[in-house]
Symmetry: C2
Subunit: 186 residues, 2 copies
DNA sequence: CTATTTATTATACTGCGTCTAAATATTAGG
DNA sequence: CCTAATATTTAGACGCAGTATAATAAATAG
């Protein structure tokens, strides 16, 4: 995905494949949709799909993964999780709820997708740890963040900004985390 | 897996397959070991492997899964997460650290196994929710439990009983959870 | 000895993910 | 214009996971 000016132009895009996949998942369910189906609908070959995504399920988690990458980089630079989260929340529009969150059950793939979700939770925990939160607090903080994200995505169209939920849930654990963790969080 | 007295006797066992798999994973790494390899070493056919496990990775998580099933049933009966955890901890010997926990990096399968771990975390969260912990506390409690389990399994051979770690980590969040959650926890 | 029960096994199939090599479409520069 | 360099698409083959089915084998009950 270098895409300067030279070379054969792209025939598709992450977005296009995302949309094709979303359509099919809603029509036929996740497990009954093959990668071939997605590629076909997007007008490219199966091989090309894998130029854009590592695997079938990633197509659903694109937004979440982008957020995690952003957060990870942001933490590396700022070394302050609280600030990194503010930056992230600021960049996420209230409408931009990941597809996976808004239309989970419609895709009838609970079991298939549970593992993928858990993978992201673990990744988040790794970022929290990287941010300098003390080991014994890592999972408590991670839990608070997951909680906030779920409440945010679960709230209807009238949801507030993501930052509000994050702030609220972190505030609740402020009094019980180590001093070191607090320093990185608030 | 009914196994009364009638019918053809079993040629293998979960344990035997577990051990065969563990050997191979340590020898060759997780991703370079096929289900065929495992079955062969255990002296059965590939098809038989799937009579004992749902999939390749489950073989590493048997102990964790057993604990989760136990916990889930226990919660259904007692409707009290705290008590269910005590019962669980009481039944788990200090040496019985799941294979996956003790020999994680030796298997060179970080990425492959991360998803499986996350899956269990999500399952745990579901049990916590089922136990009547209030929704906004579910992930905080889950985080505390994961934290405890990791500290327990990460401690050397001199580790204390699992119950100690669980109690300690839950105690830390006691002051910040809802009254309803506390009722189910303590 | 036969019927019943349970487990093992062979076999075939779908689909994911990987890899390689070839084909295609574009730009840069002589 | 033509050629080289570059970037992307694509076909095709492969290994392996996981599912399903039907046949076979080994035990017990009566």
């Amino acid at each position: 995905m270098t895409s300067e000016k030279r070379g054969r132009p792209r025939r598709s895009s992450t977005r296009a494949l995302e949309e094709a996949a979303a359509e099919l998942f809603l029509e036929q369910g996740y497990s009954h949709t093959t990668v071939d189906d997605i590629a076909s609908r997007a007008g490219v070959s199966r091989a090309t799909f894998f130029n854009y995504f590592h695997n079938k399920s990633d197509v659903l988690w694109v937004d979440v993964d982008r957020a995690l990458v952003y957060l990870s980089q942001s933490v590396m630079e700022a070394s302050h999780l609280g600030r990194a989260l503010e930056l992230l929340a600021h960049d996420v529009a209230p409408q931009a709820v990941p597809l996976i969150a808004s239309q989970f059950e419609a895709m009838e793939a609970d079991l298939d997708l549970r593992g993928d979700g858990g993978q992201r939770v673990i990744q988040l925990a790794a970022i929290v740890a990287q941010a300098g939160v003390s080991p014994r607090d890592v999972w408590m903080v991670t839990g608070a963040l997951v909680s906030a994200a779920l409440e945010w995505s679960g709230a209807g169209v009238s949801r507030a900004a993501l930052g509000n939920y994050l702030g609220e849930h972190l505030e609740r654990i402020r009094s019980v985390v180590d001093a070191g963790s607090a320093a990185s969080l608030f």
